[in-house]
Symmetry: D2
Subunit: 293 residues, 4 copies
């Protein structure tokens, strides 16, 4: 399928490469052009302008936030102006529910398709096609891009016809992970102050009730108090909790755990920790308890 | 090994039966004697008094709470008076850290051994020897009862020399599970109000990032809003969070998530839900959001 | 002084009337013109367009929120286009800190003055000149409008040169009041369930340690569980807490009490209480405790 | 009236002196006898044993906590054994609701009266008879000691027939004060980080909406970040919040603000701040926001 890809960060590069390897006709675009070089080496065409990369059937975007997506889509010479009628914009960025709804309306009005496709997984999963894909959009549009989805992820969940529901689900997933981190942070602080060895405790948890990568990975970081380098930066976690709370405000859903996570990310940011791994919020309970770090 | 067992509730019965089947010489005692009948049928001797069941090398207790354990151990004619010197009291009850420390001191003074052995697992795991055992106590005492532990659990974690550390770890484990329940409750309320089907959402979570029994079991109960009959009653969850916060108070460890869980269990209890499954706290976020139940 | 006034709600009408009575030359403007009739009767000139009302030395705006203010100031034919150079826009609306900073920059660039002047007090205080005025802006601009301030308020606090600081202070004041409401709600629920009469308790509090109108007024509403009609609607309280948390996010300040207030207002809104007095959040603790209402 | 007084700390000394000055026949007792010397100088008889001080019509106790009161009342040779039938034990200590109920039952059984009389006010108010007295107990017993109450306080509130209700009310009052401290701590941290001078902000708050000693005194301590020496030690505030939450647990009343206060006091204690004034929890929001202290 004739495919475009905008946004070649660590996630986007891996995904675009998957599409190339699978034999799709891929054009890529990135603000800083050097990111496109490795993809050109495996057959991608490199676009100089958004209008060029938009000349396709399915245009993926994987961008940092609402602001970046707004510029790429609504800006002069942007996606909205240049995507052909009937082509589908596949938005993989973790953006706000509200902005996703705005994208949906704009594309519909322009006669273009729009599928929201946030993903779960880290860069290595993106590069190896083992992402979990959360799709929001009309059934026929999702079906049309199905061959591409099969290359990118190990599983696709089509959660609703409204694209923005997929963004809400994505944010809720990150909330669940952040809740795991915070609960581990509190549990570790408590048992350590009670005389239990952190590594022993980690082993106990993750070889019994919590034998799951999320607990193993973040538990290890907390047990070792090692939050650098960041796999997923705290500033991004902070953004996601802010977007989650924004959606909860619009939907009128009180979320007490999320309120605490918000304060944790703010405390971390105030201390200069925005660039650490987001699991660094799991070290704050120990700090509150005056445990040595 | 000559073994005694006091407390034949759903957990204790299964554990005592395991010991019988494994060929140990087991004497049992329960306040209401009819609970002992099935065990007598498989070879257990039934004691009429605590003094009788205490005549052993290792005496297990699996009781409801501090008050019950206090009566059995410190009461007239109780364990402390009747357990032979050198014999070991193995306490499996989920009791407070403070009371466990008191038991430890009393047994030491009386020349008796004391191993704290709280367990993770539901009655079916108790009956089939698949419990996770958390042991606190002196190395030699834990080694002495090792053959019994191998019959009762799939794995034993010896967390510290001080018996009460095991109780702290047990409470922290229940805190982690309760945190999963609350985080799921909030996530379900949010996505449902945002238009996502609960069953679809459960499927998505538990077949991707959260492929773990804890998430599957409690997620299903929340998705179906079905919290009866109780596998583990809310009043017990409430007690455990109270004990956890009591230990945290003594150790001076702030625990914001635990504070929220406390309020959730109190809200549930105020509404008459103390006998429902403890996962019923996972329905309160939906109530706060005015979702139909 | 030649004065303009945009926004003739309950607060704005009273303030504009004060300025008329004090002999200033006042022109008023309101979206729905009938609100201007009583002011015309006491000598105000009624403008048909913003350009007309802007022809003055000091232009007051008292509007509902950021969106309303944005339209009035930045819209075509709006304040920014029509206010004379050197004239001062005096913004009394409770708007976001971020938007106030944006107003400040825009007016500076246009050669116009800008004083942020949020107020504390209810409509009766506005009508009688007993408001507390919180001023943010350059010293010389604040001095220039001083004669008007003396008519409007019993006291003016010039908190900082940056206008948006005044908005932050205003939001913090509403946060403090909302905290009083929530703390009273919790205290009343507790003592009532413990057998103490609510009216007696109110009398005790407000004739001893808490002899203050804020405690008396809101305490009485909570004691009587009477939250209608609204003096200040819950939806406005909800907005203010949202703006407060938005400012706290930008400044990286964790605010645990504010997080709880946010959830309270969302819970109230979910139950359809957005139009009740904001003190209705003080009834939620009783609801959580399953007290009859 | 023939009056006894046990517990001559800073509060008790002032109260006992008031009773002496008013011409009552006062016998005093204190664990460390030197505290009685100034009272002997103004006419008090000094008892050597509890049995001696108990020989009276009304016996006041003003002790540190449940444990101290338990020893004095239930210990061998204690109040319960020695107070004459028909005499009244007037307990002014801030004790738990549960323990107060236990005292009530024990005295009733022994044919003795019991009035719970916690007080609001600092040592200077005790010495000058300006305390607020919260009385719980039977009408006739409260009436009997009314002449003494008029000497001790500026106002007495008889809140309920059950003595322990007075203890609940006392705890709720300290909760309200602690909520003021926390809300001020958050507000100060926010506006300071937003560029507002702390002293100016204090002046604004306390000369407008919050013109009340509680706000003035604690606001000043927070504005000056000066929490030593303690007027009321953090460890006592921590104890009171623990007792409040214990009562709320028994009554099944969720209290989210109280949960946050609990964590604040624990955080302060973990950092070694248990002996500072309890308003030191009002400095933690600034710490979380990484403001210089």
């Amino acid at each position: 399928m004739k495919t475009g890809f905008i946004g070649l960060g660590r996630m986007g590069s891996g995904m675009a490469a998957r599409l190339c390897h699978a034999g799709h006709e891929v054009t890529v675009f990135n603000r800083s052009a050097e990111k496109a070089v490795p993809l050109a080496a495996i057959g991608a065409k490199v676009a100089k302008r958004i209008a060029e990369v938009s000349d396709c059937e399915a245009l993926f975007t994987m961008l940092a936030d609402d602001a970046a997506a707004e510029q790429v889509v609504f800006g002069k010479g942007g996606v909205l102006e240049s995507l052909p009628q009937g082509a589908i914009h596949v938005s993989c960025s973790t953006i706000s529910v509200e902005f996703s709804a705005r994208l949906s309306a704009a594309h519909r009005e322009a006669g273009q398709g729009y599928v929201s496709l946030p993903v779960f997984g880290r860069p290595d999963a993106a590069a190896s096609g083992r992402l979990y894909l959360v799709a929001g959009g009309k059934q026929d549009q999702v079906e049309k891009i199905r061959p591409l989805l099969e290359v990118l992820g190990q599983k696709t969940f089509h959660v609703a016809d409204s694209p923005e529901s997929a963004n809400l689900v994505k944010l809720s997933g990150n909330f669940l992970i952040a809740s795991v981190i915070e609960s581990l942070g509190e549990a570790f602080a408590l048992v350590e102050k009670g005389g239990v060895d952190r590594k022993m405790y980690l082993e106990l948890l993750t070889s019994s009730l919590f034998d799951l990568p999320v607990y193993k990975n973040y538990g290890r970081m907390i047990a070792e108090r090692q939050f650098d380098p960041a796999g997923f930066a705290a500033r991004l976690g902070r953004k996601d909790i802010r977007l989650l709370l924004g959606a909860a405000e619009d939907l009128k859903v009180p979320l007490p755990f999320a309120g605490i996570l918000r304060d944790r990310f703010l405390e971390l940011a105030a201390q200069g920790g925005d660039d650490r791994d987001w699991s660094a919020i799991g070290g704050l309970a120990a700090r509150d308890a005056a445990l040595d770090s």
